[in-house]
């Protein structure tokens, strides 16, 4: 085994970052309190469950202070290894330990988490992760999931609410309430009560009351139950009884309850309707009054602790505070997403909101907000990476609106669309859930184009850095309701950075209004943005409308290497074989179109790929099944005196999906059927692999590019192969697994194959030694090695390819060396150290005499070293 491969073997895969906040009851249409978060007793920390970890935020510093990663504990790993397992509730304190009764210990570090599959684990939110945390498993019936844990503050009694879908087709659920007890560390559960045919459910914030909307004998009935006092009479009344008082006539929307809330004293019940009306019901006498402001479905409602305020929210992206005594309203507008859940927590000191950025239909993007109740300023804003997948992934759910639109469902289609989606996910050959991400070359931040904005995400800190709108749309300033939901805001489809990191290049699509003759005439924008290091936002410098002409899309953007115009340039390609070179020109103080290669007017293809040799002399253009080599100086096909010997065009077997120039001699080409490495200097294909079974028809043209990445420093290649998992009988399931294969620069040596248990949507090189990938669960992982290859005897050959930069490193190293020596000399004179004088010359020995020897000591044999020491001292 050669030395280099020994190092490469240390490539490792680990999922370390990313993830998205979990709204455990989000997928359950009957549950209205969607989100689960936990504020500690001292009101300093906020615990948020993610799909891959628990994150603990400090409210004061607004930073994540601790993460409990499931992958770091064997127990948690085994519990959460199943994809559909998630944290469904978090309770403070060790719920198992009933020794100190119900007294609340502020310094208690324990938390108890519950999963939907009935696992109960006691963890600590401060200090080290316990190696063997206490854990239990609740026995559940098939299809029954834990939904909520009720805890009586006075008695310390614990009850568990589970849900079970009555049958697959209906949206009715059976709710079971169990009481839990722990005796001698044994878990016992007893079924207290069962609620059949439940449509909607909610509970009071003090865990005492449960309000349910259920169907009995074809009629909708509202019931309120006390959770702990089983004997207490259930208040029950038909929905029609409160409707008749308000709207006897009207559309289905005005009778369809979309949201409910009950206050802590069981005196008021709030009902939100699809039409936007909120009805407050006085529980004692069933008197009602109406609160009208919303014009689309009310998606969330919550009472404050004392019941004097009601919070409501929905599509408008506004929180409304209703002062119930006066009917006065207060507003908090311009949230980032549609408000799907709200709670008043911490003795009304904080409001916790859950928002969904519903514009992204491919994924459910959640943001959790913690608002300070005093000034309504946000204390925490929590979300994961926000990728936009090519097609809708399995877990995403569309929100309910009064009308059915592209981004929402209405009451009649809600269950239909879900089934349709599932069928599509299972049966469709095309399984393209790839996404577009770019890594900033200097800050190493991940940048996600997110509809009309970009999100900047720090992989290493695992936090969002910035969220900036790049286009002008309705979304940016307000929520859209009803038919407005059909208006498509401009979308950022591609982001690139110049190699020096100073410029951002974005490509956008603007959609004309729907249902017009011109609806298909999309407008394409190319924008150039600038940012200084101290700025937080990118500033627009140049905008080009339809850069390749009317109705011509930008299929590919590539930024230029350092050697061209100080890296401030890029090439854009269209779907017709045309290329344009844009560069920042100092004399114009603007980005200019500098070179054009005209398109071929009769041939269209979206399989366009581009790459650029690092010395800037050649541009490689893959268009359909042809790879053309262009001379960048002339911006035409490369011509030499003997083109027969040196081909300037290669025809591949199928459409070229991506090309990656890995070093100065090899180009990796992925077509629909093969992955091959072409040696440009020899003009030969050196290695090729069959990728047809994993690629053909599965990805949209050109999207395979997102799953192949190249380490531009070492020339290593990583490719992702996603495969649908089949069940025992060979039928496709909703699950995927991914294999990431790392190759050396000419594909002759496989450096490693890694398996990830979820569909990987994107892989990219982090401008260092590693590859970063993102899966459909928004988790970020890393395939990499931290071994410093420069320690090797023979420094990796590819570093030579940086040409001019290599030369600069020599100059700077030399300067450093010469500077350090001259200062040493000064010191020597100043301090006038004691020295031993050699016999034969006037050389002095001091603390600096041997330093040069150790700068390169690792390859020197012992006697050589000794020889050198002797030379210095004699």
């Amino acid at each position: 085994m050669t030395q280099s491969s020994a190092v490469n073997q240390q490539y490792k895969l680990s999922v370390v970052s990313g993830g998205k906040p979990i709204l455990p009851r989000y997928a359950n249409s009957s549950s209205l309190n969607k989100s689960v978060t936990c504020l500690t007793h001292d009101l300093l920390n906020y615990i948020v469950p993610f799909n891959n970890q628990l994150k603990i935020y400090s409210i004061e510093t607004r930073q994540c202070i601790k993460t409990i990663k499931f992958a770091n504990s064997d127990l948690l790993m085994s519990i959460f290894s199943d994809d559909d397992t998630f944290v469904t509730d978090i309770k403070l304190g060790n719920i198992v330990d009933t020794s100190n009764g119900n007294a609340i210990d502020v310094n208690d570090k324990d938390i108890t988490i519950f999963t939907n599959h009935g696992y109960i684990v006691v963890l600590q939110y401060k200090g080290k992760l316990l190696e063997n945390p206490l854990n239990f498993k609740l026995d559940l019936n098939d299809g029954e999931f834990v939904s909520k844990i009720f805890q009586d503050e006075e008695t310390g009694a614990t009850k568990v609410l589970t849900t079970k879908q009555s049958d697959i087709k209906s949206s009715l659920f059976t709710y079971n309430l169990y009481s839990l007890s722990f005796n001698d560390n044994k878990l016992q559960s007893k079924l207290d009560r069962s609620f059949e045919n439940t449509i909607l459910s909610t509970w009071s914030t003090n865990d005492k009351f449960l309000a349910l909307l259920h169907e009995s004998e074809g009629k909708k009935q509202l019931s309120i139950a006390s959770v702990f006092d089983v004997l207490e009479e259930v208040k029950s009344f038909p929905v029609s009884s409160i409707l008749s008082a308000t709207t006897s006539t009207g559309s289905a929307n005005s009778r369809y309850v979309t949201s409910m809330a009950i206050d802590n004293t069981n005196s008021q019940l709030a009902l939100g309707f699809a039409s936007g009306v909120i009805t407050i019901v006085d529980v004692s006498d069933l008197k009602t009054r109406l609160l009208k402001w919303h014009i689309d479905s009310v998606l969330s409602l919550a009472f404050t602790k004392d019941g004097s305020y009601l919070l409501s929210g929905g599509w408008e992206k506004v929180v409304i505070f209703w002062q119930l005594s006066t009917n006065l309203q207060q507003f908090l507008p311009r949230l980032n997403g549609v408000m799907i859940d709200c709670q008043s927590i911490g003795n009304d000191k904080y409001y916790s909101l859950a928002l969904q950025m519903s514009e992204n239909r491919s994924n459910s993007d959640f943001q959790l907000l913690l608002l300070n109740a005093a000034d309504l300023k946000s204390s925490l804003s929590i979300n994961g990476p926000l990728p936009v997948f090519n097609s809708t992934i399995k877990d995403s759910v569309q929100l309910l609106s009064a009308v059915s639109t592209r981004t929402s469902t209405n009451i009649s289609k809600a269950s239909m669309s879900k089934k349709k989606q599932k069928k599509k996910l299972l049966k469709s050959k095309r399984q393209d859930y790839t996404t577009c991400i770019e890594i900033h070359p200097t800050s190493k931040h991940l940048v996600f184009p997110h509809m009309s904005a970009i999100q900047t995400y720090d992989f290493y800190r695992n936090e969002q850095i910035a969220y900036q709108y790049l286009t002008s749309g309705i979304n940016n300033s307000m929520g859209k309701v009803r038919f407005e939901l059909n208006i498509r805001d401009p979308e950022v489809v591609d982001v690139k950075f110049t190699k020096n990191g100073k410029w951002m290049i974005t490509s956008e699509i603007e959609y004309p209004p729907a249902d017009l003759l011109s609806s298909k005439d999309l407008i394409y924008h190319l924008k150039f943005w600038y940012k200084n290091d101290q700025d937080s936002d990118w500033a627009l410098k140049t905008k080009v409308i339809n850069p390749h002409g009317l109705n011509v899309p930008i299929t590919k953007i590539i930024s230029c290497p350092y050697s061209v115009n100080n890296s401030e340039g890029c090439i854009t390609a269209d779907n017709n074989g045309g290329l344009k070179y844009w560069s920042y020109e100092d004399h114009e103080k603007n980005w200019c179109l500098t070179k054009i290669s005209l398109p071929n007017f009769n041939h269209f293809s979206n399989s366009v790929s581009l790459d650029w040799s690092q010395d800037g002399s050649l541009v490689f253009h893959g268009f359909d099944d042809k790879l053309t080599i262009l001379d960048f100086d002339t911006f035409r096909k490369f011509e030499t005196s003997d083109n027969d010997k040196i081909p300037n065009e290669y025809t591949l077997d199928t459409e070229i999906q991506t090309i990656k120039l890995v070093n100065s001699s090899n180009i990796i080409i992925a077509t629909q059927t093969t992955l091959c490495s072409l040696n440009l200097l020899m003009g030969k294909i050196i290695n090729s692999f069959d990728i047809y079974p994993f690629v053909k028809g599965i990805y949209k043209n050109g999207h395979l590019d997102r799953l192949i990445s190249c380490d531009e420093k070492s020339g290593k290649i990583a490719i992702v192969i996603n495969r649908q998992v089949k069940d025992e009988s060979g039928n496709p399931t909703l699950k995927h697994k991914a294999q990431i294969i790392a190759f050396n620069s000419d594909l002759s040596n496989r450096l490693g194959t890694f398996v990830h248990n979820e569909y990987v949507s994107w892989i990219g090189w982090n401008h260092d030694t590693d590859f970063i990938f993102l899966d459909t669960e928004s988790r970020l992982g890393i395939v990499g090695t931290t071994v410093n290859t420069e320690m090797l005897d023979e420094v990796n050959t590819t570093s030579v390819f940086e040409g001019s930069t290599n030369r600069d490193t020599f100059a700077s190293e030399l300067k450093k060396l010469s500077d350090s020596k001259s200062t040493n000399d000064d010191e020597m004179e100043d301090i006038n150290l004691e020295f031993i004088n050699g016999n034969t010359n006037d050389k002095t020995i001091n603390m600096n005499s041997f330093t040069s020897m150790f700068e390169n000591v690792q390859n020197v044999q012992m006697y050589t070293l000794f020889d050198r020491v002797m030379k210095v001292i004699t």
Partner: protein
């Protein structure tokens, strides 16, 4: 583009044994540092003869020389220009080291200097000095600014002299066998590299910085010992922070300042490691000149390619003495430079002469190296399409064959080349081809060499009736380019294959397609070919190719297109019309005959009429909706329209 010119002779060397011996030749000739593109001069210390200065342009000729005793070897030689302290006249300081047996002297001649770089007048010597040295002088460097001569002796002493040969300072480098010294400047500072032999195949590398504080200051910056490297048998050169060491057929590249081995390159064109006469010299960033006997190569060491090579057939051996390095930085994008070498003529009485060769070093980019690699391809002959997961058997269906024994199949085909049916049987069965045309099932037939062999076989064995295998091959996307030439002419009498080739065969040459297009009269084929041309080639390349075609062809084509009488015209109109416009663009309207021009004009008028008529009809249909929209506009006028100033300007590009 990188290239060499034919070398020209600077001077014939005197017939001295050491000068005509291949081994000692290089060490007997010492070139001073004033050899540069600007100076137009070259100063050479020729052992046993003279220290001579030549001008290169316009005609190489001797300008001045200082004779030396015929027994003495010149071991080092250099030149410095300075201005006299006394009268301000321009002077040159020639310093050279001489050796005779164990006598080593450092000599200086101060002579007057002429500003004109083309002047052939020599000037005169005004002063001379001489100084005895302890050991052989390995290298001389003159610092013109400080007026200091830095002399490195073989025994490890670095000595500083002034221009009157007064010893200013002497430093010991600790190693006694110095055999390579190089001075260079970086960022305005002076540095020196000293390599010395250590017993047991080792080399000591030391990097010094000179003249930092005063004119005799010297600092050691780094020191490295290279193991397993023999300085005596290697050739060394330095360039831009790298040391190159040539040993046998390998080139080692060391990165400074720490002298780490960065890369080892094998030079396969050095065949006889022992007897080949090698010499090399840096020429530009990452590029070196290398001579092997009488061949000269320009090598790119980043891409491992031969940028240019030249056979100097008029001489037996050519060895490089020095070359002018093209600066890697700065505005000057000049890529032309010169190198000087010494050659030995063919024939019984060897005559050596100094010869200068012009070199264009190119840009050093991938562009220059494309397809010129000198690396031996360690590529297997057949590159099979490999499976990504060889261990996973579920990926492929059972019957799917992934590798073929091409050699045997070809042999079998060869044996059955007389029986067309058997040939087909073998071809389709052995390669497991299900359909008569290429499908993705056949993607494992990936070897272009095999495809091209089979094609060769088919074309040699069958003349009239081609096997079905050929139809399959014509649909294969990897149909070798080499066989697309003259393919269409071969199929002239095979309309089915002709059409197949036009429709599916990749990489058909444009020239042939156009030729076919202009001669064919079949409407359907015409459509196919025109579609093919427009799909595969850009308008630019079509125009380019059209320009080379004969006028008669073009005339015929135009008439064919505008011939309104021909049947089924309407269906392929758009493509042909587009081609017509390309033809007109390429040849120019005025190149046409008047008669054709008139016909063309009538034809176009006719087309315009049709377009106008369609337009009118369309407007007629659209009128209703127009009315409605004007109504809306009237209402809109009530709305106040305010124009806001835009934050940025918008420019529309007309392209």
């Amino acid at each position: 583009m990188p290239s060499f010119s034919q070398p020209f002779r600077l001077a014939v060397l005197p017939k001295i044994l050491s000068l005509s011996n291949v081994e000692t030749q290089i060490s007997s000739l010492q070139i001073a540092d004033d050899f540069s593109l600007e100076s137009n001069k070259i100063t050479i210390g020729i052992s046993g003869s003279t220290i001579s200065q030549y001008i290169i342009n316009p005609t190489p000729s001797l300008v001045f020389n200082v004779p030396i005793p015929s027994t003495n070897n010149v071991t080092a030689c250099n030149i410095g220009h300075f201005v006299s302290d006394t009268d301000g006249s321009k002077l040159e300081c020639w310093a050279y080291g001489l050796s005779y047996n164990k006598n080593h002297t450092l000599n200086i001649s101060i002579k007057t200097s002429d500003d004109d770089k083309y002047a052939t007048s020599g000037g005169e010597v005004v002063e001379t000095y001489s100084q005895k040295c302890d050991d052989k002088i390995e290298h001389i460097k003159i610092n013109e600014k400080e007026k200091v001569i830095v002399v490195v002796l073989k025994n490890g002493l670095i000595q500083f002299y002034d221009f009157t040969l007064k010893l200013l300072k002497s430093v010991n480098v600790m190693y006694s066998d110095i055999s390579f010294v190089e001075h260079f400047e970086e960022d305005g500072k002076q540095f020196a590299i000293i390599l010395s032999n250590i017993e047991g195949k080792k080399i000591s590398f030391k990097l010094y910085e000179l003249f930092t504080n005063d004119k005799t200051s010297i600092n050691e910056l780094s020191s490295t010992i290279l193991e397993d490297a023999d300085l005596g048998e290697s050739q060394i050169c330095y360039q831009f922070g790298k040391i190159y060491r040539l040993f046998e057929d390998r080139l080692y590249i060391y990165n400074l300042p720490q002298c780490q081995l960065q890369q080892t390159i094998e030079l396969p064109f050095i065949q006889k490691k022992d007897s080949d006469v090698l010499s090399f010299s840096p020429i530009a960033n990452n590029r070196i000149l290398l001579t092997v006997n009488n061949k000269i190569y320009l090598l790119d060491l980043v891409h491992n390619s031969i940028l240019a090579e030249r056979d100097l057939s008029h001489v037996k051996v050519y060895q490089l003495l020095k070359s002018i390095v093209v600066p890697s930085k700065g505005e000057n994008k000049n890529s032309k430079t010169i190198a000087i070498g010494v050659s030995i003529k063919n024939g019984p009485s060897p005559i050596s002469s100094l010869e200068v060769i012009n070199v264009d070093v190119g840009s050093g980019t991938l562009k220059d190296s494309l397809g010129k690699s000198f690396q031996v391809a360690n590529v297997k002959k057949n590159i099979p399409l490999q499976s990504l997961f060889p261990e996973d058997e579920t990926i492929y269906a059972k019957g799917e064959q992934k590798s073929f024994d091409y050699k045997n199949i070809l042999q079998e085909l060869q044996n059955n080349k007389n029986d067309i049916n058997k040939f087909d049987d073998i071809f389709f069965k052995k390669l497991n081809i299900m359909k008569e045309y290429y499908t993705e099932q056949d993607r494992f037939i990936y070897d272009q060499k095999f495809l091209s062999d089979v094609l060769d076989l088919i074309f040699s064995a069958f003349k009239k009736d081609y096997p079905r295998a050929l139809t399959f091959l014509l649909t294969h996307p990897l149909f070798p380019i080499s066989h697309t030439r003259n393919l269409l002419t071969k199929f002239r009498n095979q309309p089915r294959l002709f059409k197949q080739a036009v429709v599916t065969c990749p990489n058909l040459p444009l020239k042939e397609l156009l030729a076919e297009l202009f001669t064919i009269t079949n409407g359907e084929l015409c459509l196919d070919i025109s579609l093919r041309i427009l799909q595969d080639y850009t308008r630019d390349s079509i125009k380019q190719e059209l320009k080379t075609l004969s006028k008669v062809d073009i005339q015929n084509f135009i008439e064919f297109v505008i011939d309104t009488d021909s049947e089924d015209k309407s269906q392929f109109n758009p493509q042909l019309f587009q081609l017509l416009s390309l033809v007109l663009d390429a040849s120019g309207l005025f190149a046409l005959e008047e008669e054709t021009l008139e016909k063309l004009s009538a034809y176009i008028d006719n087309q315009v009429n049709v377009a106008e008529r369609n337009n009118r009809l369309w407007h007629l249909l659209d009128e209703n909706s127009d009315k409605r929209s004007t109504l809306n506009q009237a209402n809109d006028q009530n709305v106040l329209q305010t124009k806001s100033l835009s934050a940025y300007s918008v420019e529309y590009l007309e392209l």
